[in-house]
Structures are given as C-alpha cells and as structure tokens.
Amino acid sequence: MSSHRLPPQPGEVIDRSTVINFTWNGQPVIGLAGDTIASALAAQGVDVFSRSMKYHRHRGIMTADHWDPNLSLQVDDEPNVRAGTRLLAEGMQVSTQNVWPSLQHDVGVLNKAVGRFLSAGFYYKTFMKPKFLWDNVYQSVLRKFAPGGRVHWKTSTHGAYDKRYAHPDVLVAGGGPAGMAAALGAAQAGASVLLVEMAPELGGHLCWGNDAERAALDKLTTAVIAEANIEVMTRSTVTGRYDHNWVAVMQGDHPLAPERLVKARVGSLVVAPGLIERPLIFSGNDIPGVMLSGAARRLINLWAVKPGQRAVVLTANAEGDAAVKDLQAAGVEVVEVVDVRTGAMVASAVGKSRLQKVVLEDGRTIEADLLVTATGWTAPTSLLNMAGNRPVYDPQAARYFPENLPEEILTSGGIAGNGSTDELIAHGSATGVLAANRSLRLRHSRRAATARSRSPEGPAPEALTDTRTPLRREAHPECYRASTHGFVDYAEDVSSKDLIQAAGEGFDSIELMKRYTTVTMGPAQGKLETVNAAAVLAESRGMDLADIGTTVWRPPFAPISLGALAGRIFEPVRRSALQDWHEAHGATALLAGQWVRPDHYGDAVAEAQNVRNGVGIIDVTPLGKIDLQGPDVAKLLELVYVNRWESLKVGRVRYGAMVAEDGVVSDDGVTGRLSENHWLMTTTSSGAGAVWEMLEDWLQTGHPEWQVHVTPVTGGLTSINVAGPHSRQLLERLVSNVDLSSDAFPYFSVRQGTVADVPDCVIWRIGFTGELSFEVHVPSGHALAVWEALLAEGQDLGCAPFGVEAQRILRLEKGHYIVGQDTDGLSKAPTAGLGGLVKLDKTDTIGLPELRAAYQREDLPILVAVQPDDPTVLPEEAAQIVDGQTATILGRVTSSRHSPTLGRSICLAQVAPQLAAPGTVITVLMADGRRIPATVQEHHAHLDHQGARQRV
C-alpha cells in the first residue's frame, strides 16, 4: 500500500509526530494521532472498505463522516464502528464485516450475478414451496447474509457507562459557526448553555474551509472557551428531543466513561446541525472513488489525504466549486468539471474496486479514479420531527425547511438557510439571544411555582420579539437522479429501479415503500436516502416532491449503545437491620421483590421442626407496617377492610382482608390498636407500598374530613417472630415490663414494652406458624442486640433462627393462605374463604357491590386444603386438577409441601365449587403425566385446626 498522505495542510488535525499502530484485516498498518480509522486507511491507499449487503459490491469512502454507509467496520469486540468518525487508537484491530472468506475474495459476490432476480421484496414472492425447505434451508441461508459486525457476547462492558442530568437554559445542537454564535449570544444574555458537537472539534464546515473561515473559527473558539456560562461537549450527539424539551445527549468525550448519557431539561433548544450532503442517483454511484464533495474536502484539509489522482467533479453549488480548488491545490488532476448549473450532467460511472471512467450525459467518457459530486443538501430535521414539526419542501432551494416551530425550539445555520460566515454568526447570535430570553422567562415562572426555590426578585424579563433577519434560501438545482438508475440506499442495496417497481406494485406512499423495499431502514436511518427516495417516488407517480412527504425521523438521531442507555446498574435492594447477620451465619439469600431475605440456614426442615418442638426466631421485617394515628382511624379501617373495626379494644389485634373495588382480594394482615387513637397496621411485604398509597388516596380525595395521619414504618421496626412452645419462656427472660402470661396477654393482643433493655418495642401475640408465638417489633437501630439476646438467652431452649422456607412449611401445615399465591388476579372473597369475615351490611367498604354480588354466586372457585391419598406423592405447585381422565380443568394446586410434622404431603388448592365439599376425591395431574387421587380436607389447617397450640 502506498502512502497518499499530502504534505502538511494548514487546517489539518493530525499530529504527524505521533504514529499509531493498528491492524487492518490482520495486517499491521500505521496512522497518525488525529486520524479517523477511515482517514488512516485512506492515507495508506485503501480503496475498498466493505462489501454491500445484498450484492456484495465493493464499497469505499462516500461521505467520510458518521453517516457514511460504507464505513461500518469491526473494531476489536465492537461491531458497526463508524470508521468515518471514530478516532484511531493504538492497537485497534480493524476488519471488514460483511465478507467471507475475505474482502478480496468474497463468495457473496455470486449474488451480484443473480442480482436482476433479487428485486425489491423478492423474498416475499418465493421460497414458499416446498415448505420444509423454507423452514430448514432458505431461512438459514438468508440469515447468513445478515450485514453488520460480530457481537462478542462473552465479554461485557455493562455498567461501565455513566449518566447525568442537566438543566441548561439553552441547549445548542451543533457546534458550527451558527451554533457557536448562538451559544455565545445566549450565554452573554445570562443563560446557562450546553453546546453539543458531533465532531471532535467545534467549527463545522469552517474546519475544512479557507484561511478566512479558519480565522473566524479561531475567534469563535476563543470566545466560547472564555465564556463560563457555556459547557461544551464534542464527539457528542443530541440523540433525541422528547416532550417538554427533554433532550438526550450522548456524550463521547468524557474522560472516564466510554459514553455518557446526559439527560437535559432544556429551556430553549437551538437546532443548528448544518446540512447533510446528498448523493446523486446514477449507475455506478457506489463505486469506490465516487464520493461527495464534503468527503473529498475533509480528506484533504483535515487529514491531508489525497483522495485520488484524476478527478471529475460534478458540481451544482459552491461546495463543489470549493472542492475543485481543494483538489487542485492537493495536486489532484481535475480533468473535467461537470457543472449542473450549466445543464451538464454525469450519466454513469464505471469500475469495480475503484472508479475507472465516468460517462457524461453528452456522451463523452472520461478516464478518472475519482468522481466528486456536490448535488445538494438534506436538512437533518430529526429533532424537529421529534417535536412534531413537519418541514416543508422548497423546490427553489431543493431542500426542506422548518416552519411554524414551537416557542421552545429555534433553528439557525444551514438548516435555516444560507449565509456567509458573518451572516451565519449574526443569525446564530440573534438566535441565542432570543433563546435565552424565552428560557429565562420560563425559568422565572418555574421558580415562582416551585416550593423549594428562592422566590424570584422582580418580574420576568420582557418577551423579545423575533426580529432576526432570516437567512437566505439560495437557489439550487433540483438534482436527484441522472438519466440512469443507481443506488438510493447504499446500506440496504436498494436502487431507484427497485423503488419504481415497488410503487408500481401499489407501495406508492413513502411509508409503504419503505416497508416493502427497506429503503432508509439501515444504520443511517435515511439521513442520506430519505429525500432521494421521496424524489424517486414523486417521479414515478408524476407528483411534486413537496406533496410526497417523508418518513418520520424517530430517535435516536445517531445510534446509541445499549451500555450507555443502561448506564450504571442502579437496582435498589432492601435489607433488614439483621440481613448482615443472616449472611454471616450461612443464610441462603432469597430475592423477594426488592427485599433480600434469608431463605434458610442450611436445613429448612430442621428449622421448621425446631419451631414445632422448641423455639425459633425469624426476621420478618419486610412485612409492611403502617402507623395510623388520629380519632378517625377506625372509620378508615371500616372502609378499607371487608370486616368490622369500630369495636376493637385497645390492646387487641384483628385479622383483616382487603379487596379492590372489583371485589378481588388484594391484601391482608393484622392490625392492632395500641391506644385509643393509635393503631399499627401490617400488610403483605409486596403490598405495603400500594396499601399506603391507597390509604392516602381515600383520606385525601374520599374523606378529607377524617383526621388520620398515615406513616409507613416498615424498615424502622425490625420484626422478629419468636415461635414455638418455648417462646413465652424465652421472652419472659428478656421482656421486663409486660406480663406475657396467657391471661394477661391473650392470643391476638398487642403490647408495648422493653425487650432486652430496648424500649419502645411492640409485642404482638399472633402466629402465622400455628405455634405459640410472639412477634416483636424493635426500633431497627437496636434490632441486632435483641436478635442476639434472643439467641443467647434461648441457647438452653434450643433457640435457632429459621428462614422463609421453614415458615412456608409451617404456614401451610396451619393452612394460612398467601394473597397472590393461593389467590390470583380474579380471586374474590368467597374463593379465599372469607365468608365469616365479610360484613355486607356496611354502607361503604371498598368493592361493596362486588362483594355482595360475589356472595350471590355459586360458581366461584373455592380454596381448600387437599391431601394426596398417597402421602409420599408431592404434587407440584400449579399442578392442574382435572376431571378424571379428561382434559377438563377443575382447579389447581396453589401451595404444596412435604409436612415434616405430619410426615406427608399437604396442599392448598383452588377447586371448582362442586369439588369443595370435605371428603371429595379429586384428580391431580402431575407434571410427569400421572393422575393421582387426593382428598379435600374439612379445614384449611392440616394441623391443629382448633388452634390449641397457639392459644396456650
């Protein structure tokens, strides 16, 4: 490979003293600091960077920027790297993606030979028969031709990325002359500004401009750097604008994170992204050596790369004219300037891995290895589209312009019109001032409305009227297609001929055409292709381009890595004050919702047996706990629970169940009355938050006249259940000021007292396990002391911790159901067996009409206890209960365990009402297909249904 590096250029961004080593398809090559991957390879004489998706045509540099469809390369473990903008780094392993076995000898090129048969949507019309070939062969062949690089999914950078929020008064998208001037104008008017530029340097087209343009850039850059109110991000992209000016910026120049997502609430958004140069459609428009004027100019001026030897320049504008000068200065022989403004035109280009000749419309054929085209612009209106704005086509200028923008969005620079450097700067500056005014007015009103803010002094600034002199709309010839057909979408290998065919088949709206041909669906998402596609459609339908419309540009403006979108891994987990102890003592962690809990400490069955025979302690802190205070608490409870509360005496506890307005069981728990106006409610762990919000809703919107204050105290009270025949004996050693005897402290009571010298504990005599048990709620800062005291004092009683699994066994033996496991999203009160509890004579309770209706019905499933006739058979949870040998479903097992106490399998099950009678033998379908008999029990409790064990 020979060097195409030019002698030093005045505006070059490369550092000739720093050589960077990397590899290209396995071969060692060198580049310079400041090179992009593409410029380094071009400097080494590389022409072919990739093969196209469908026809595997040779492809080279086209735009030399982010949107270049031919420069997606594999770099190390990263697929689809944009070689046109990615800076070269030492040791990079760069390779082509869409070739096999090699870039030179790619067998996919066979597709080219049959290309005429692979017209738009061809795959919809074939491969249908025989069906087994589609299922087994065709599909896998199609997949082999998937474009794109390789994901190395065994390595990960998940979590290495970062995010932050920002609240700039003004965000300027685009750091060209207009954008820089807008940032300065806004900052000087008192606004905080975030200026975002996609390229490594500010300046836009001034970077590769002439001496005067570079001098203007230097001046702007100095001013921007000096302005404290401006934060600059380069190599960064405004990827999306969402409702209420919520703007996403992908920051690429952060020193630590590979990419950082900046989420900005923006006062005024200034859109100044410049223009994207548009390719022309003609035969051979994708051959390496055919490139856009911007690419040629950047190669020469930024990276000092000579793009070819003999050039034809097709120009319709000043950019093309400037390219002629740049090429000549770089020593490229410009053999022909084809000026569209004089009626001349290129007809086609010829070549394979490099351009060989150019055919003109006048019939001449010119030998050349470079064809530079400058045939027009596409306005990158994505951010405006995202704000609901539909830009309007202006045939005189041959491009789209934004119109009727909302207040909070302004445009400047090329997207708004044409101008000299000075005119662009003046327009940008005035735009910045206007943007600042609007955002500062907004800030004033936000400040006035915000409770935490310092109230603004004085009135809001007066609104400025928009007195900006609009930028000109320079006349430009409408050139979209030459007399020949060529590629519209390079990444998708879609030609103008394909589009015309699609329109003829009925896909004659731009959206249908896109879906049928896949035009604009590649990585550039239409940045190069949309307008050309619309132009071809307009041509084929004989319509004006202005009437065709374009597809809507959706976020992101440029692709953004999943890692950056994910950011740091923020996954909140909740830990009780005892969780460290559990983990230090061998507990296996169980993730239950957000909580980390001890599942068991090695042997759940032994833990359960220890509770039945001795005493065990379990950390049940995740149990929802809500402090209720005020004279009207009982009224609130009457409303939210299905049962009665007014009569509950101080020191007593009651079980309550809740249903939603549709009558479905939603939560349950016990609630105790600590004093006349002070109650403590418990809820399920997963339901705690929803119950709290529901209580607030009723108090705020349903009954604002009730005086109740609700305070969630779940984490503040560490809950320890002390369960087992010896539990009273153990607690008596630690509780100093509460009489724990059965007479003084009966079942379903609550007391406040001191436990292990910790005051302000709440002691409940309740039980989920079916044993004598006390639940102690300890202020969490002292919980560990109480837990350890229980173990120490209970050593002689065999006190040991037990985990969630042991508790599941114990509660199932006792027949306690769990909302959400034994009930489901349709379970009403009768299903859960709440019959004795529900009071239908209230005048208001949540879901009252549905409760009344439910008790009129006889077809609701019923929750029953079930025991398999063979005690050694353990049905799976979710095993279906079926009608004999048929497939008719009559219920399902909701909970199932082996009971160590009874030495047999035990279950809870929802069954059809006709099976609910005690003694009914039902058929359980096991996962292995066996159908086993089981018998419905009289009580939910498999053990001690009278509650003798817990009432001692």
Partner: protein
C-alpha cells in the same frame, strides 16, 4: 419525560409521579346497581384531546391532584 405541574411542589418530572387515569365518579356503593358500579369500574371515555386526570406525587409531596392533559399533544393545563 413530561413535566407535571404539581400544585404543591411546582413543576416536576413525571418519573416522580404516578398517573391514576381519567377522573371517574364513584357511585354510592350501598345503593348503586351492579351496572352502574361496573360502568364506574370499567368504562372509560378514553378521549383523544383534553382529559381530566388524577396524578399522585409519589416521590414528592405525596398529594393526589387533578390536572387537564391533552392526550394527543401531552400539553398540560392547571384545572384551577
């Protein structure tokens, strides 16, 4: 992420709130017919345009309040 104007906190990012849907009137549960009750439970105007809806300022002041939002544009105006 839209901004919801909480009457107590001021403008807030919607991530800190919960949308509770369009405002519906709860019939008297003691006297409502099942049809009336289920109309309240299930049927919704689901309008395209201005809708009165309830929000809960979950991570902020924890107050429920009503605003009007345009379901086509996401514009919001205070009901006060």
């Amino acid at each position: 992420m839209i901004i919801v104007p909480c009457p107590h906190c001021g403008p807030r990012n919607s991530v800190d709130l919960r949308n509770c849907g369009e405002v519906v009137n709860r019939p008297n549960p003691d006297t409502a017919t099942l049809t009336e009750w289920r109309t309240y439970l299930y049927l919704r105007e689901n309008a395209a345009g201005w809708v009165s809806e309830t929000w809960y300022c979950r991570a902020g002041c924890r107050r429920y309040f009503t605003i009007e939002r345009n379901t086509v544009t996401n514009e919001i105006r205070d009901q006060s």
